[in-house]
Subunit: 333 residues, 2 copies
């Protein structure tokens, strides 16, 4: 398998709910007016807490400093695993599950914090730039390439692994964070980037105005805490990915957005009772490892405050049981 | 002929060029998300000086107070002349020319300031609410209706004109303002409001980002002062009108925007060397009267700083001569 260190230097930021209006101008430029920006990696996720915006340094320059904008201090680099088409992985699972044992677990053991951005197309594992030597030393089963200016340079073939792994540190038992399983059902979708203009007004409405009531509907904000507000849009290297619940999906034209042929719906597990911060390691491993054990697919989207795993609707009962057992009897986790 | 006092209470505002980014959120809502606002009258015009935004009080509420936003203090009411289909006007001219003698000149004589908003569909004559009694008393040849909640109420039939006209005030000779005739050619267009989403990204780009250079073109801002930056969008009672030069027009899909069957192009006369303010009367009359004498059609768009008349391309030489004569020998004006 190949691990690619992509040619994006990323910042992880958060915009407050009330501050969004002041960032509408740069955000719309980053989403819809690609000819006006050099930004190549942009992801924006609304959660009940805030908007998490992950973007490269070119994009970050567009965001004016403001008390409404919080930026994590580090530069993050996205890693991407390319499966070997010839290798039988012995698993049909997709998403973070597929890389749980090869990437997530080893990095957790080496105390490397990761920030996950799953999309329709692939899963990006963001690591801090300063952790890159440890990352390269740890992921021994990969040929590792660094992408620079459109070229892939071999950093290390797996035959010359330098043995940094298992460097003597003991894995610290991770805190088991509370989880929340909201009732909405999600889909993970994409669309031809050339048709993005066709959904512009709907997407703008959902992303920037969903907080304000419509004039033509009774103003009865949902007080049902079982429904989480979660909407994610990303435009990365020209590929569009959208994660939304079925309510939001109905607002988009059905003929433009597409999802995997199985048309699966996904349920969410939100991880964290208090905002998780960026320094704790092993949070993703904590959930991806048991999912891998059960061969359950999962998307995983980290945000500024919490982490979010999406698992197939039909597996949510099993996942819920598993998480419950993990929290009541940690030896099974 | 009928004069209708429309059921909109308008504010005339100006947003600075550098302040536009901070108003993008409410402006995009007013332009594209009609279901989220009660605003029914919205017009936005970019000029080299600033953005003039004319909108009703519902729309005005969306604009947060800011040092970048200037609002003229009055409430303005839009008047609209409905031509009697049976009356032969003896003129093929359209726009402000058609109402020069019946509306513009009498109001100027009564020292009523007007603010003009010509659109593809019609010409709105905005007058201050406090001037309404004088307006009604002055426009003696009209049946005057006030629209209230969808109904047209007769205010005064022309047979009971109350003689307020010719009230003894002498017409003050108006200042003759310098004029500028830029070289761009303009078109006045419309589109089906249901297709507005199809041009959303282009319209957003033109309205909100035209000040910043594109990444994919050499950054050589035009230094040709003969080309004026002027773009006007209005959404009034569900009707869309666009005024743009032929450079901007080429950026829109040709199949969605339509113009009059003659496909006429228009040249601009900008009136004013210094910002005109809102209190001087007779500025519109000064140009519409000679245009009416020559039977030359004209659109007329007032903005926060200057006034702008659009005349048919083939008439610009005549108009230019006429304006020049007016300025060198005022007795011919």
């Amino acid at each position: 398998m190949e691990l690619h260190i992509l040619d994006h230097r990323l910042r992880v930021t958060s915009i407050t709910k009330s501050g969004l209006a002041h960032f509408t101008h740069p955000l719309i430029k980053l989403i819809f007016l690609r000819h006006r920006t050099r930004c190549k990696f942009f992801s924006m996720t609304e959660t009940p807490e805030n908007y998490t915006v992950v973007l490269d340094e070119e994009g970050f320059k567009e965001l004016e400093a403001s008390s409404q904008l919080q930026a994590e201090g580090s530069v993050w680099l996205p890693l991407n695993v390319l499966s070997d088409a010839n290798a039988s992985l012995g698993s049909q699972a997709v998403g973070v599950t597929k890389i749980a044992e090869s990437v997530i677990a080893p990095l957790a053991r080496q105390h490397v914090s990761v920030f996950m951005v799953s999309t329709y197309q692939t899963d990006f594992i963001l690591v801090r730039e300063k952790d890159l030597p440890v990352v390269v030393g740890t992921l021994e089963e990969f040929n590792i390439f660094r992408e620079v200016g459109g070229e892939s340079l071999l950093v290390r073939g797996h035959d010359i692994a330098n043995g940094l792994h298992n460097n003597g540190k003991e894995a610290v038992p991770a805190t088991l964070h509370p989880v929340l399983i909201p009732h909405n059902r999600f889909c993970v979708m994409s669309l031809d980037p050339d048709t993005l203009p066709s959904i512009a007004t709907t997407l703008i409405d959902v992303l920037f105005y969903s907080g304000s009531p419509k004039q033509d509907e009774a103003t009865s904000p949902s007080t049902d805490l079982d429904q989480i507000k979660f909407f994610s849009f990303s435009l990365i290297d020209g590929y569009v990915s959208l994660v939304m619940d079925t309510d939001a999906q109905r607002r988009f034209p059905a003929d433009l957005l597409f999802t995997s042929s199985s048309g699966e719906l996904w349920r969410m597990v939100r991880i964290g009772g208090q905002p998780l911060g960026f320094d704790e390691c092993g949070i993703v491993a904590q959930i991806s490892q048991p999912l891998a054990d059960c061969d359950i697919s999962a998307y995983y989207i980290s945000t500024f405050s919490f982490d979010h795993a999406l698992v197939p609707e039909e597996d949510i009962a099993r996942v819920s049981d598993m998480l419950h057992k993990q929290r009541t009897d940690p030896t099974t986790g």
